[in-house]
């Protein structure tokens, strides 16, 4: 089934009595990768949680439509900054966690989980406890768990921010390859990450905030670091983000 595009209308969020944004609109094209940037506290993570219909403490509202008209329920996968591996399942059990939690995993679920572990380069860790893995390895397992859901829409909230720089670059390559042809929305703090991965970059800026679209570098993602266009645009993007703080 082809991935749906998403349309967000009338998104509003109030923190205490301070409106972070209201009447916000956004379109996320089917099968595209959108990166959402903004300063801390701009409400970008909250916007993502609202699209995922996760719990939020503040007053919020959002109208969500899909391009094919079908509801998003059951077609969505979530990946957070923390790997969220559960200590009571081994690595392979964590990959097929959705299957464990919804009922009893079938033998083919286990095979699929093993294949995904192979794809993220952790085939030999299947029988270990999450405790025995490094931070980068744990995040790879989280990526495999996200892929296991086989969702056409993937929402990620700073998924690679807790790992070291080199591991992050490796995870970019891996994620970009494995999440091809899905509608991805990723919140990030890292301008370089956005420029490497995004088909479209949106900055949440101003008070109340608006979404501003930023042009992305040429070339197919993940864009290599020595891409001249990428380097030029990184300086621009950083300037934009700094301005947005004073706006």
């Amino acid at each position: 089934m082809p991935p749906p595009g998403l349309v967000v209308r009338q998104a509003s969020l109030t923190f205490g009595n301070r409106p972070l944004f209201h009447g916000l609109q956004a379109r996320f094209d089917a099968g595209s990768w959108t990166c959402l940037l903004g300063r801390s506290g701009s409400g970008k993570s909250s916007l993502l949680r609202m699209i995922a219909s996760l719990r939020l403490p503040d007053n919020h509202h959002l109208d969500l439509a899909t391009s094919d008209g079908a509801p998003l329920t059951g077609r969505l996968a979530w990946m957070a900054q923390q790997d969220l591996l559960v200590p009571w399942q081994r690595v392979v059990g964590n990959v097929m966690l959705g299957s464990h939690w919804r009922g009893r995993p079938a033998p083919e679920d286990r095979q699929r989980a093993q294949r995904l572990l192979d794809q993220v380069g952790l085939a030999d860790k299947a029988g270990q406890w999450p405790d025995e893995l490094s931070g980068g390895q744990r995040q790879r397992v989280a990526l495999a768990r996200t892929l296991f859901e086989d969702a056409s829409v993937v929402l990620m909230d700073e998924p690679f921010s807790a790992v070291d720089a080199i591991t992050r670059l490796e995870l970019h390559d891996l994620a970009s390859r494995l999440l091809a042809d899905r509608t991805v929305i990723m919140v990030t703090h890292d301008p370089l990450e956005a420029l490497r991965l995004a088909d479209r970059i949106l900055i949440l800026q101003g008070e109340p905030a608006r979404l501003v679209s930023i042009p992305v570098p040429e070339g197919a993602r993940p864009r290599p670091l020595d891409n001249i266009d990428l380097q030029r645009r990184q300086a621009e993007l950083v300037t934009r983000l700094r301005e947005s703080a004073h706006a």
């Binding site: 949680r49 995922a52 219909s53 996760l54 719990r55 329920t73 059951g74 969505l76 996968a77 979530w78 957070a80 923390q82 969220l84 559960v86 200590p87 009571w88 966690l97 959705g98 464990h100 939690w101 919804r102 406890w129 999450p130 405790d131 859901e149």
Partner: protein, 258 residues
């Protein structure tokens, strides 16, 4: 791995026991306390051997009370914790009651239970259950409540029902917290049973102690106490071992840490 460590682990407690017995004997020699106040460790030891049939009979009764109380208290406590976590209305009504119930002294409860349930095993099992119930219910409920938000987010995007979320996510996440409640329960269970026996009974170690005391068989009284302590220790380590088995992901850390 456990077999390799076990003998080394046993040496220290045994040494401690021997030293304790030596000090005990020394106090007897130095102070000249009469043996109807404090019998010698040797006298207690020989009472343990000579009266083993009598002790075994009463110990068996007490063991049944403790184990039945433990199982009943754990099941009831766990059910309460799950129900409290699941139903908001229940929290409002039951939680204050639960806290008030803790203010009732157990000793005051025992005669009432005797009155209602007679002198048999029933009221003793109930006493043990009552003393176990609260730590299990409260640590269980605390654990269920403190599930990290990230796992609840995952559960939501996985499309779990409230019931699935409670049993598959919150319950395993609550296990470490529940485990400390269960360890507390295991060491408290013998207290409940023995209090029940003191208030009114015709068998059990508590009865045997009172009876021996009245007849000035102080060595037998101490022997019964030794058996009771052995029960409490065995129960604690038994529950501890069961908990480790049920949380294999915890075991390595605990063993390397000690």
């Amino acid at each position: 791995m456990l077999e390799k460590i076990a003998p080394g682990r046993l040496v220290r407690p045994v040494v401690a026991l021997v030293v304790l017995a030596a000090i005990w004997q020394l106090v007897l020699i130095l102070t000249g306390v009469p043996r109807y106040i404090l019998p010698s460790p040797m006298a207690v030891g020989s009472a343990l051997i000579e009266q083993r049939a009598l002790l075994a009979h009463h110990a068996g009764i007490t063991a049944i009370e403790i184990v039945a109380g433990l199982i009943g208290g754990i099941l009831l406590g766990l059910a309460t914790a799950l129900a409290l976590a699941r139903f908001r209305a229940l929290r409002r009504t039951l939680l204050p009651l639960l806290l008030i119930s803790q203010a009732i002294p157990l000793f005051a409860l025992a005669p009432i239970l005797m009155l209602w349930l007679g002198y048999g095993l029933g009221p003793k099992i109930l006493m043990a259950m009552v003393i176990i119930y609260f730590p299990v219910a409260s640590t269980g409920y605390d654990g269920l409540r403190q599930t990290p938000q990230g796992w609840l987010d995952l559960a939501r995007t996985f499309g779990l029902s409230r019931r699935q979320q409670l049993l598959k996510v919150q319950l395993p996440a609550a296990l470490p917290s529940l485990a400390s409640g269960l360890r507390m329960a295991a060491s408290a269970a013998p207290i409940g049973a023995v209090i029940g026996e003191w208030v009114g009974s015709s068998q059990g170690l508590g009865y045997l102690m009172l009876n021996a005391n009245a007849r000035l068989q102080i060595d037998l009284m101490f022997a019964a106490l030794v058996v009771l302590v052995a029960f409490a220790v065995l129960l604690y380590f038994g529950v501890d071992a069961a908990l480790r088995l049920s949380m294999p992901w915890h075991r390595d850390r605990v063993e390397s840490g000690s």
